[in-house]
């Protein structure tokens, strides 16, 4: 398995705050990488720098052999780097269907069709429904995004990201606020996705992280302080002190 995305001494500082400090990680294709760490460790900022939401202060981001450190967001998405947000970022006034359809339409390069009806693109519609089914929102296609329950909105986040046909999918606390049922659904989805693509996961649910990750990176105050398989991380003394914070394991 090859590396699909890597960062090299990546830094993102906010004034004196070193939110991401000299981070070098490699994400393998068709694997789940979890990034864990306490609140404020810099996990979201790492995502933001990788996906282009924030420019890097120093260092590089390489995707599929290509330096994308300075590429605009939409170009990274076009390459297949898709993400969800810790705080939902949806088209709230639009239907569930339209939220995903617009992403799919963009992916399929149909956005410059100015004289066809937006909902007459059969292939786009079909692909949209396929994704909605995948995340369990098939029955709610015609509901407005702002009327959904929080858990459903979280699922919609994932659906929108999936519509971009990701090669690497970055999920920022996807199951936060979800019911157990919804969480299980996401776990199953990740396990299915990872047969084809790479998934990077920020998650506070330690049990979930340990059960589905191939590799875990632990962040603390902007730096990676430990990396390895779930087993290795559990045994890592430094990680336990800094993050798990407990004396005798979990």
């Amino acid at each position: 398995m090859s590396t699909i995305l890597s960062t090299n001494s990546l830094c993102r500082h906010f004034g004196g705050v070193r939110a991401v400090n000299d981070v070098t990680i490699a994400i393998r294709d068709k694997s789940v990488k979890a990034v864990i760490g306490p609140n404020g460790a810099g996990k979201t900022t790492l995502f933001n720098t990788i996906t282009g939401r924030l420019p890097a202060t120093a260092g590089t981001v390489v995707f599929d052999g290509r330096d994308i450190t300075n590429s605009p967001v939409h170009e990274r998405v076009k390459l297949g780097i898709c993400r969800t947000f810790q705080i939902n970022s949806l088209f709230l006034g639009a239907t569930v269907f339209e939220n995903v359809r617009i992403a799919k339409q963009t992916r399929m390069g149909k956005s410059l069709k100015i004289f066809s009806k937006r909902d007459s693109l059969a292939d786009v519609n079909e692909a949209t429904f396929e994704i909605l089914e995948k995340v369990g929102l098939g029955g709610k296609a015609s509901e407005l995004a702002n009327t959904l329950s929080y858990g459903d909105q979280r699922s919609l986040e994932v659906a929108i990201a999936l519509a971009g046909d990701p090669k690497i999918l970055l999920l920022d606390e996807p199951t936060a606020g979800m019911s157990q049922l919804e969480t299980n659904n996401i776990i199953r989805l990740i396990q299915k996705l990872v047969k084809e693509i790479a998934v990077v996961l920020v998650e506070h649910d330690v049990d979930m992280v340990l059960s589905i990750s191939d590799s875990i990176s632990v962040m603390h105050q902007g730096s990676i302080i430990g990396e390895g398989t779930p087993d290795e991380i559990c045994k890592n003394q430094r990680v336990r002190e800094a993050y798990l914070g407990d004396e005798n394991g979990h």
């Binding site: 970022s89 709230l92 617009i102 519609n125």
Partner: protein, 332 residues
């Protein structure tokens, strides 16, 4: 699957709009008074301008404080051409020319504007609008400054060798204006319902998310801006054809505020609401200014009241009425 994709409502709207167009075609035969016919012609022209701002504000979510500047550019282009180059120029020359000059100047402004955030975008519309206004106003030797250009020849409306009439004739002016604006309306409507329109709406709804689904936000903002300015330029061309005169007040900051008021009054995001807004504004102005010299005060008051009690604009009235009728029918 069918339920999520609601074409039905759209078709109903189209039928209603076609009926309104039919009524407008019949209007001159009911309305004997030439003065009112010219007033309605003016409303239709300003409706097009307000609609063009709706493309920008209501669909793309971008604010332009000086949108009338682009009407002015279209209007002045035609006026200057008729004054200095060829008084007898065919509309087939002056119409495309008016659009072309508007497009070039709008592109210069838009290219820079979309490279900034939302607030700076709005500020830059003021900067460019003021600049274009000042250029027109200061180029006295060509534009006659404050006095503007008047007594311009009114062009024939021709289709190839066939002359259908002259813009001097209020009936010809009305039908020509109506035809051009109707085409603009239905084409724009179609574009807003297209995948392209969906992209503009997604930028309005959530610009950041739009870029994170792979949309090149700058490019699409620029395209929305260009569409809006092109339509504004067309309204300017029609204005010169109808009035036979132009003056800088057509494109000053006050004019920019008025278009904004028309669009807000009518209600954003519907396109047709803009025409209701233009009609309301021009009728109110006409009506109140006949009664008092301080009509701007009352007009302002009327706008404030409407904004307070009908934040979604006048377009909300027929929409709610339609919903009530549908509900009643389904209750039966």
């Amino acid at each position: 699957m069918e339920k999520a994709i609601g074409n039905k409502k759209d078709r109903k709207g189209l039928v209603i709009q076609a009926l309104v167009l039919l009524a407008l075609v019949l209007l001159p035969f009911v309305l004997g008074n030439k003065f009112y016919l010219r007033l309605v012609t003016e409303i239709i022209i300003y409706g097009l301008l307000a609609m063009s701002l709706d493309v920008l504000l209501g669909f793309t979510g971008l604010l332009s404080f000086m949108h009338a500047a682009y009407m002015g550019i279209g209007a002045y282009t035609v006026a200057v051409f008729l004054s200095y180059v060829d008084p007898g120029a065919s509309i087939w020359v002056t119409f495309p020319l008016g659009i072309a000059v508007t497009v070039v100047l709008a592109f210069a402004a838009g290219w820079l504007q979309v490279r900034t955030g939302g607030f700076a975008f709005a500020l830059l519309t003021v900067a460019f609008g003021m600049m274009y206004y000042t250029l027109v106003w200061k180029a006295r030797s060509i534009t006659c400054g404050d006095d503007g250009l008047c007594g311009l020849p009114k062009p024939d409306i021709s289709l190839g060798p066939i002359v259908l009439g002259n813009m001097n004739d209020s009936l010809t002016a009305y039908f020509f204006t109506l035809a051009v604006v109707a085409v603009c309306f239905f084409v724009t409507r179609r574009i807003m319902h297209s995948p392209f329109g969906a992209v503009l709406e997604s930028i309005r709804e959530n610009t950041e998310r739009a870029s994170f689904i792979g949309i090149n936000v700058r490019n699409y903002k620029l395209m929305g801006w260009m569409l809006a300015c092109t339509l504004a330029g067309i309204s300017g061309v029609l204005f010169t054809y109808m009035k036979g005169s132009v003056s800088p007040t057509l494109m000053d900051a006050r004019a920019g505020g008025i278009v904004l008021m028309m669009t807000l009054l009518g209600g954003m995001g519907t396109l047709w609401g803009a025409f209701i807004g233009a009609a309301a504004y021009i009728f109110l102005q006409d009506f109140i200014s006949a009664m008092t010299e301080n009509w701007m005060v009352f007009l302002g008051l009327a706008v404030i009241l409407l904004t307070l009690f009908m934040p979604k604009g006048l377009a909300d009235l027929p929409i709610r009425l339609g919903q009530r009728l549908t509900r009643q029918r389904s209750n039966l």
